[in-house]
Amino acid sequence: MSLLKKIFTAVRGGAREAGESIVDANAIRILDQEVKDAETHIAKAKQDLTTVMAKEMQSNREIERLTKQIKEYEGYAIEALNKGDEALAVEIAEKISTIEPDLAMQEETKVSFSAHAKRLKDLVKKTERQLNEHKRQLTMVKTTDSVQKATAAISDNFTNSNSKMMSASESLQRIKQKQKNFDDKLHAAEILDSENSDTSLDTRMKQAGIGGNISSANSVLDRLKAKKGA
């Protein structure tokens, strides 16, 4: 069964004892071990790969050397033939025939090393995929575990502080009320501010003798005099 399915099943299992973990510690330990094993495998395979690739390179160099040697002797043999020295040509040909099996053997070795290197490369890739898969699963398990534990800690914290967890609707109402109080305060402050600025404007206008209803002792006296005269 896939791990995701296991987690589903466990979660679906519904009511669990408080503090009981959804993921058993053993499963985490096994997965952790699998990750470690996969890492060891990769390290070993990579080391083997280096050795094999080094041998492959050696083989290549040897093949190059032998091929060059054969070519050289072939040149000599042709030269001998051109000079009419049949006996020397035969001797050189014999020399070539002793090198050729070496070359064949080296080529075979090289093919075998190449195949081995390819197998190891494939193995490394496969193991790396496996390792990532295990790590992904481990993440799922550990995260599920962490979230459960965190939720338990939060619930405990509420219980210990004797505060009841409010319902979502109550919480929302409270938050909205607070927001409204804040807005009202802000609004009141704005009104107050504007009133203050109105008063100060009036004062400044009066000082400047601007605006109606400016009464002074003199203007009242003028008015009374005018009445009396009428």
């Binding site: 993440t139 979230v147 965190a150 338990a152 800690a153 409010m166 319902s167 979502a168 929302l172 607070k178």
Partner: protein, 137 residues
Amino acid sequence: MNIKQMAKALEELDSTAREGFDFDYQIIPGDEEVLQISLLGREEIPVYLTKTDTQLLCISYLWDESEIKAESRTQMIEMMLDMNIPMPLSSFSRIGDKYAVFGALSLDSSAKDIAHEVVILSNNAIDAIEVMSDFLK
């Protein structure tokens, strides 16, 4: 950064990074250390920050099964699925019998990223409760 260092780093941010909100921090001890972040004025719905091996998780709990009107439960769950992608940075989830919104961050997130996530998550949580209050008792 451990949970304590995160609280310190968040506090050291200037208020623009916290998008105008004041944060209040409380470390909740337990098997898994949790940082409770309360946004001033929204203390009823805090954001909880937990660190796992691979990610930072910000979670806000919405309501539990007992608060849901039985007849609207399916509709509510469908709405959560529908809203999961449009809702910025957060997703719906359920832990035990508690419904939640959460956001996951990479472990090397900066304090600024975390603050942004916390504010967005808080906004999303309040929006979600408002939008789905008809499904609740």
